[in-house]
Symmetry: C2
Subunit: 344 residues, 2 copies
DNA sequence: TATGAAATCGTAAACGTTTACGGAAGCCAT
DNA sequence: ATGGCTTCCGTAAACGTTTACGATTTCATA
């Protein structure tokens, strides 16, 4: 069922059918109606390859996710709502969104090169931004519109949206200090992911703002999953004087951390304060519930989409340039996992 | 950088360049080498739209995931490894895999219709199969190659691969009975997802095989997330005679269930036996660790890819038809969450 | 009635590939 | 020397669209 068949059936030229379907002005309203009815009747949908070839545009946006990165661990619950937000914007512009999952056994650069080379997408959303991210320089020099979820130290002019991990760390530190905690540990990603640096920076700044000196021994690099949390707890227990509080970059870590402390007879929320990252169904039903930070992932997705569109010539007019380079604030949600320090 | 530019630069016709790149036989090895070198030098990658238009094939496979479905909750940790498995097979055939996420605010049928109509993909992997799934009939009549992750009651001839939820339920029941439990509850998905029926069927069969009569009051429909688990526990606590064991269809439910029981002063693993579904980092670090079932998601992905390829004419020769309609066995991993019944 | 503008539609080229077909060599055997 | 076979390569059509351009009709106006 091609546009030719449709035109033949209606005794109309191909061009007119195309114009009718695409809402061009120079077509009789009556003819347009006939075309639309017939198109619906036969279930005609334009062949994307044909369109793309002619227009030089694919009407497809790619959302790249690296499963090798920590963030992939909570990939489902995190990315799904973001996706929906992005899609809700793109739908209005007839743009399709596809997820490009880059597995651990594939080089992200090569993957990106293939996708971009094939002219597969018109634009890209890049997540899990590294501190030094070759994908960014690659996309910049290829002049492919993109936006990153997570800022980066990589130079160049491009839009990014980041969660305020610096603020999260600072708020957590301030809260724990007010609770009387003095030795506050922090669990950070072991990889080169940029949010790790931002998170740690917020931690350092908040400490120094409160006149506490930074102690490298209180920084625990780990994978952002349950096992990582377990290891953090193990390392904390091994110290001569155990920290009385810990801030985690990821809520999954809390599960492993809880377990390790239980094994040691230490009760999170009573004997040690824990602040995690993201509020979720999980954080609400852990025992104890996790003190963490709330964010509307759907809204985040919407902003990502808008930022990307603002860099795409075809859509830029509708999306002002000022919606980019955004640090997304997050709201603290108190849980049972932290509280006043009443120890020695 | 099109094939034309490449040809011009080499003083060769377009056709020869194309044949050289595609490994056709009627091209001088020396010429082919020149072409390949030049292609690499200029970073030439064939335009996918051009190829697709000519060949009528897109070299793209879609993996459809509905975020409205329970399975999406653990989407990240579940689907990512499956994806990698699928990709590892497709990579060998130059096929790109994209994830098509169907949000809650979009009708799956309409979404599928758009994707298929646009000739966006050559084949599809469908997950979260419903007991009665219109997507299946749609794809069958459109003659689009596809495979479903999860069997269905929907009629027709198509390949599917399913996890052995029936076996899981049966094994769990048998184990708990051997432990002396008599009142064994089960948490099942509240939706029309087919695995719910399969899971429940396995439960019923195992009971009847052991001479225990089926009690509808022991079946607790719930969402497959932490909150669902919480509700299941609440409902169990409300019964005059509480069950002594419970089987969950999903490991996330365990978190909420644990919490509710803790709140009631009941210790999972000691006062009540819990068997969950999938072994994961999470199941291993919960307290108590979850008795559950192990599965290699990567291998599952590989099988899915092979099953799909076996239905695609261009690849069928390499993939015998006997790799389809597979029920995937799973291995029990004992945890701390269940054990002998020593109650009243 | 003649004129010009507006409305509507058909024609054909173009997008970047692949591939069927045929032509031009080169080679061997008759 | 002729014929046939093989090897290699160029030509051109085709895939399904969109869109610039021009042609035709309509209609109001002078």
């Amino acid at each position: 069922m091609s546009i030719r068949d449709l035109a033949r059936h209606l005794n109309i030229s191909i061009g007119t059918v195309s114009r009718a379907l695409n809402g061009k002005s120079d077509v009789n309203p009556e003819t347009r109606e006939r075309v639309l009815v017939a198109a619906k009747e036969f279930g005609y949908v334009p062949n994307q390859s044909g369109r793309s070839l002619r227009q030089g545009t694919t009407n497809t946006i790619g959302f790249m996710i690296e499963s090798s990165i920590e963030t992939a661990d909570n990939g489902g619950s995190f990315f799904m709502p973001v996706f929906e937000g992005v899609q809700s914007v793109f739908r209005r512009h007839q743009l399709d969104l596809v997820a490009l999952l880059c597995g651990t056994d594939e080089d992200p650069g090569a993957y990106l090169n293939r996708i971009v080379g094939r002219r597969f997408v018109d634009g890209l959303i890049i997540s899990a931004t590294m501190r030094n991210d070759p994908r960014i320089t690659f996309l910049l020099e290829r002049k492919i519109p993109f936006v990153t979820l997570g800022r980066s130290a990589t130079g160049g002019q491009y839009p990014w949206i980041d969660l305020d991990f610096e603020g999260v760390a600072a708020t957590a530190v301030a809260r724990l200090l007010k609770f009387g905690h003095q030795r506050i540990a922090i669990g950070v990603p072991a990889s080169d992911i940029n949010l790790g640096y931002v998170f740690l920076e917020g931690y350092r700044r908040a400490l120094s703002a409160n006149g506490i000196s930074f102690d490298p021994d209180l920084v625990f690099p780990a994978n952002s999953n349950e096992e990582g949390g377990y290891r953090v707890a193990t390392a904390m227990l091994a110290q001569k004087q155990m920290p009385t509080a810990v801030i985690l970059v990821n809520e999954n870590m809390a599960i492993g951390l809880y377990r390790r402390f239980y094994e040691a007879g230490i009760h999170p929320g009573r004997d040690i304060a824990v602040v995690g990252f993201r509020e979720s169904t999980q954080s609400r039903f852990l025992s104890p519930t996790l003190t963490c930070f709330r964010i509307s992932l759907r809204d985040l997705g919407i902003k990502l989409a808008e930022a990307l569109l603002s860099t795409m010539p075809a859509f830029a007019s509708n999306y002002p340039q000022d919606s980019i380079d955004l640090v997304w604030p997050m709201e603290l949600v108190p849980g049972e996992s932290d509280g006043p320090w009443h120890g020695t």
